[in-house]
């Protein structure tokens, strides 16, 4: 077989966290689990998870999946923080 210009390894096998200068932190007590942050993340760095240990502002939200930021991939763009209608995400500078 010749050496072909074909790429087969998923980029999700690599870390991008070092590109970030600040990172998003979700304050779950404010999070209504609306998934808007998930929807707008260009780095697909927000998972939606069913994890009873994640706190929720209100019973009625706790049955919903919660957003969980995957800091391996998050580049810290801040879109999630801007778009969260409930101000539940804060961007925090990474330590240098």
């Amino acid at each position: 077989m010749p050496i072909l210009p074909i790429t087969y390894v998923s980029t999700s096998t690599r870390e991008m966290s070092s590109w970030r200068t600040s990172k998003p932190i979700i304050e779950y007590s404010k999070c209504t689990r609306c998934a808007i942050c998930w929807k707008f993340c260009p780095d697909v760095a927000i998972d939606l998870v069913s994890d009873p240990s994640i706190k929720s502002p209100n019973e009625k939200f706790s049955s919903l999946e919660a957003p969980l930021i995957n800091l391996n991939y998050c580049k810290g763009c801040g879109i999630c923080a801007t778009e969260c209608p409930f101000g539940a995400i804060e961007m925090v500078r990474e330590e240098i």
């Binding site: 210009p5 690599r14 991008m16 260009p42 697909v44 763009c77 801040g78 879109i79 801007t82």
Partner: protein, 293 residues
């Protein structure tokens, strides 16, 4: 609360786009809408770099890279090649930038549409050549700074109007034409599902803001996109069976609000902003009239 857009991801993490890249959101949404039975053709553009260097790929569907001017022809060839193998049920998608669509790839696109192949052509419109570092394209809007319209002492910003490729596709009577914006993903998903149901060439132009290219804070990508629609500088519409349907945003904002957020317009005097405002209004009115037709 159910998700408002499909859950499945066919674009993967770990790509090398800039933080806050709108073009990346476009790809993410398009693949969600089109699903796994798809192949994507990408000509030279940011998207030929975003998946990263060999051996990496960021998509869960096959991605065929092509020369810059080749997208329209490549989807034609790919479509016929798949059909010849009985794979009529696979989607063939071009994913090309505005430079690769409005400029060097225009005749390839136009010819593919004329020939009537069953393909979807997505133009992710970041309004300049971004991969090479922000040069003017035909799709760059009037008034914008780019490195080849550098303002300077002669105020040499882009002096020509944006070429709206979607308008050309309507003039060519493509079976389906739509504009979309990453700030309105539900609208985009709906348009994709319509496109999917139509046999023949489909064209969707997605406004995809670019933080370094438009010179705004990466956190504002979605916001900027939304303002583009609400200020009517980038109207959302749909064209099917020769009929235009214009989306009227519930909230409208002055164009200046859109412009002021972006460094690429920061050199504009108020009088120059006025010129843009009235051009936007004029185009809006003409679209409204066309909708009546």
């Amino acid at each position: 609360m159910p998700l408002t857009i499909p859950r499945e991801e066919y674009m993967q993490q770990g790509h090398t786009a800039c933080a806050g890249c709108g073009a990346t959101l476009s790809m993410r949404y398009v693949l969600k809408g089109m699903g796994p039975k798809s192949a994507v053709v990408v000509p030279a553009s940011c998207w030929s770099v975003i998946p990263g260097e060999l051996p990496y790929t960021s998509l869960k569907v096959p991605l065929l890279y092509t020369p810059f001017a080749s997208a329209g022809a490549a989807i034609s060839g790919l479509r016929e090649g798949l059909d010849a193998q009985g794979k009529q049920d696979y989607n063939v998608i071009a994913f090309a930038g505005d430079g690769g669509t409005a400029d060097i790839g225009l005749q390839g696109l136009s010819a593919a549409v004329e020939r009537g192949h069953n393909v979807l052509y997505v133009m992710y419109d970041n309004e300049a050549y971004m991969n090479t570092g922000i040069q003017r394209s035909g799709s760059t809007p009037y008034g914008a700074w780019t490195t080849t319209t550098p303002v300077g002492s002669k105020r040499d910003y882009k002096r020509e109007n944006k070429k709206f490729v979607a308008d050309l596709m309507m003039a060519q009577n493509a079976p389906y034409v739509a504009t979309a914006a990453i700030g309105f993903p539900e609208d985009l998903e709906r348009k994709l599902s319509v496109a999917k149901s139509i046999k023949g060439p489909k064209f969707i132009q997605i406004l995809s803001p670019c933080p370094p290219g438009w010179n705004y804070n990466s956190a504002d990508t979605v916001r900027v996109s939304r303002l583009a629609v609400e200020s009517r500088i980038f109207p959302l519409y749909e064209f099917r069976n020769g009929k235009l349907t214009l989306f009227k945003p519930s909230k409208t904002v002055p164009v200046s609000q859109y412009l002021y957020l972006q460094g690429r317009f920061s050199h504009l005097y108020d009088s120059e902003v006025k010129v843009i405002e009235s051009a936007v209004e004029e185009r809006w009115q003409s679209l409204l009239r066309k909708e009546q037709v």
